[in-house]
C-alpha cells in the first residue's frame, strides 16, 4: 500500500503548486487572496504529511488565518479605491522569468546533491532530550537548545508591533471600523466560542511540553479569540490602558530578559536553564510568550488605539 502514500504526497504537492500559480497570476486581487488562503490551508496539510503537527497548527492559524485577514483588510482599503491592476511590462516579466528559472534549476541541481538518507540532528536531540525540561522535541529545541532564536523571535514580533503602532499613531492606518453591527448570531457564537478558545489555548500551551503544541500556537489561538471578541463589539484589547497594553505586548521579551538576566547573575550561560525547576521556568516563559503573541496578533489586526475615552495624561 506504499503507492497510496506517494499518490497522496504528490497530489498535495501538485495542489500546492496549482494554488500558488492561481494565487500569483489571477488578475483580480480578492481572488488572488482567496487562493492564497487556500494555499495556506493545503500548506498545513503538507506539514501534517511531513509529520510536523506543530507547524500544521501554526500554518493554519498564521499562514491561512492571520495573513489572510490582514491581506483582505489591506486589499479592501487599497484595491477598492484604485481598482486597476498595474500589469508589469512584458520585458520585466521575461527577465524575472529567466532569473527565477535559473535559480530554480540551480536549486534542483543542489537538491540532487543533498544526501537522500541523513538523520541531521535527530539523534543528538533524542540523546539530549532527557536532560532538558520537556519531552517534546520541537519545544525542547525552541526553548532549551536554541532558546536564543526564540528570544530574538519575540523581539522581532515586538518590532513589528512597534512599527504598526507608530503608523496607527499617525492615523495612517485607519483601524478597521467594523461596520458589522454586533448581530445576535455573531455575539451568540462568540459567547459560545470564547470559553472554548480560552480552554483550548491553555491546553495547547500545557500540551507543548510533551506533545505538539506550545507557546506560539496557543498565543495565535488566543489572539484569534481576541479578534473574534473585538469583531463582536466586545472591546477588550482596544480598551486596555496604554501602559498595560505595552506591558502585555512586551511580556515575551521581558520574560526572556528576566530569565537570562538572573541566569547571567547566577553565573550560568545566557540561556543555560538550571537543572532544578527548569520545567516551571519553561512553562512560565511559554505563558509570557503566549500572552504577548496573543496581544500582538490582536494589535496587528484590529489595532489598539480605538480611543473611546479621551487620551489620559501619563504620570
Amino acid at each position: 500500500m506504499i503507492g497510496l502514500e506517494v499518490v497522496f504526497d504528490v497530489s498535495v504537492a501538485v495542489l500546492l503548486v496549482v494554488l500558488a500559480l492561481e494565487s500569483l497570476y489571477t488578475p483580480n486581487l480578492f481572488t488572488s487572496i482567496a487562493f492564497f488562503i487556500a494555499f495556506g490551508l493545503v500548506m498545513a496539510l503538507a506539514w501534517v504529511r511531513l509529520q510536523a503537527p506543530d507547524l500544521a497548527l501554526a500554518e493554519a492559524a498564521v499562514g491561512a488565518g492571520l495573513t489572510g485577514v490582514l491581506l483582505l483588510d489591506a486589499a479592501r482599503e487599497i484595491a477598492a479605491v484604485r481598482g486597476v491592476e498595474r500589469t508589469p511590462r512584458s520585458m520585466v516579466r521575461l527577465t524575472s522569468l529567466l532569473v527565477a528559472a535559473g535559480v530554480g534549476v540551480a536549486l534542483v541541481a543542489a537538491l540532487l546533491e543533498v544526501p537522500p538518507r541523513a538523520a541531521g540532528l535527530a539523534e543528538a536531540v533524542r540523546e539530549a532530550l532527557p536532560l532538558t525540561a520537556v519531552e517534546h522535541g520541537v519545544t525542547s529545541v525552541l526553548l532549551d537548545f536554541r532558546a536564543l532564536d526564540t528570544f530574538f523571535e519575540t523581539a522581532v514580533l515586538l518590532l513589528a508591533v512597534i512599527t504598526v503602532l507608530v503608523l496607527q499613531a499617525h492615523q495612517h492606518v485607519r483601524i478597521i471600523p467594523w461596520e458589522l453591527s454586533a448581530s445576535p448570531v455573531l455575539s451568540g457564537l462568540v459567547g459560545l466560542l470564547a470559553p472554548v478558545v480560552l480552554v483550548f489555548s491553555g491546553y495547547l500551551l500545557w500540551a507543548g511540553t510533551h506533545a505538539p503544541g506550545g507557546a506560539f500556537q496557543a498565543g495565535v489561538l488566543l489572539g484569534a479569540g481576541g479578534i473574534l471578541l473585538e469583531l463582536a463589539g466586545v472591546h477588550t484589547v482596544s480598551r486596555l490602558p496604554r501602559r498595560a497594553l505595552r506591558w502585555l505586548l512586551s511580556l515575551g521579551v521581558a520574560g526572556f530578559a528576566l530569565l537570562s538576566g538572573t541566569l547571567l547573575l547566577a553565573g550560568r550561560g545566557l540561556l543555560e536553564l538550571p537543572g532544578a525547576g527548569a520545567r516551571t521556568i519553561v512553562i512560565a516563559l511559554e505563558i509570557a510568550i503566549a500572552v504577548s503573541v496573543a496581544l500582538t496578533v490582536v494589535s496587528l489586526v484590529v489595532g489598539s488605539n480605538l480611543r473611546l475615552e479621551p487620551p489620559e495624561q501619563e504620570p
Binding site: 492564497f36 495573513t67 535527530a122 503608523l167
Partner: protein
C-alpha cells in the same frame, strides 16, 4: 519519489514561482503574497530535509520553520501596515479628505518630530514641554 523528494522539489518550485512574481514587481499586496509563497517554499524545503530518516523526523528544522513562520508573519504585518499608510497618504496628498481618521492640522502631513521645526504647532508643544 519519497516524501522528502516530493516536498523538497515543491519547495524549490514554490520558491522560484514566488521569486518570479516578486521580480515582476506587481502591486505591493501581490508582492507580499509572492513573498509569503517564497517563504512557504523555503520552509517546506527546510522541513522536508527533516524527513530523510526511517525512525521519526528531526525536530530541529520543525522548530526553525516555526520561527520562520512567525518572522514572516511579523514582516508581512509590518509591510501591510506600511502599504495602507502609504495608500492613505497618497489619498490625502491628492486632496481627498480622509473620513474616520483624525487628521489634526499639519500633523499627518509628516511632523518631522524635530524640536523647533517650522510648523507653529510643533514649536509651542516642544517649548512648553521642556
Amino acid at each position: 519519489m519519497d516524501t522528502f523528494l516530493t516536498f523538497a522539489l515543491t519547495g524549490v518550485v514554490l520558491f522560484s514561482l514566488g521569486l518570479q512574481e516578486v521580480l515582476a514587481r506587481p502591486g505591493v499586496l501581490r508582492m507580499l503574497i509572492a513573498v509569503n509563497v517564497m517563504g512557504s517554499g523555503t520552509l517546506l524545503f527546510f522541513v522536508s530535509l527533516a524527513h530523510r530518516h526511517a525512525d521519526g523526523p528531526d525536530p530541529v528544522p520543525h522548530a526553525l520553520a516555526l520561527t520562520g513562520i512567525v518572522v514572516t508573519l511579523a514582516a508581512t504585518a509590518a509591510g501591510l501596515a506600511l502599504a495602507r499608510g502609504l495608500h492613505r497618504l497618497r489619498a490625502e496628498g491628492s486632496g481627498g479628505r480622509v473620513e474616520g481618521g483624525r487628521v489634526e492640522g499639519g500633523r499627518s502631513q509628516g511632523a518631522g518630530y524635530e524640536r523647533g521645526r517650522s510648523e507653529s504647532g510643533r514649536d509651542e508643544q516642544g517649548r512648553a514641554d521642556r
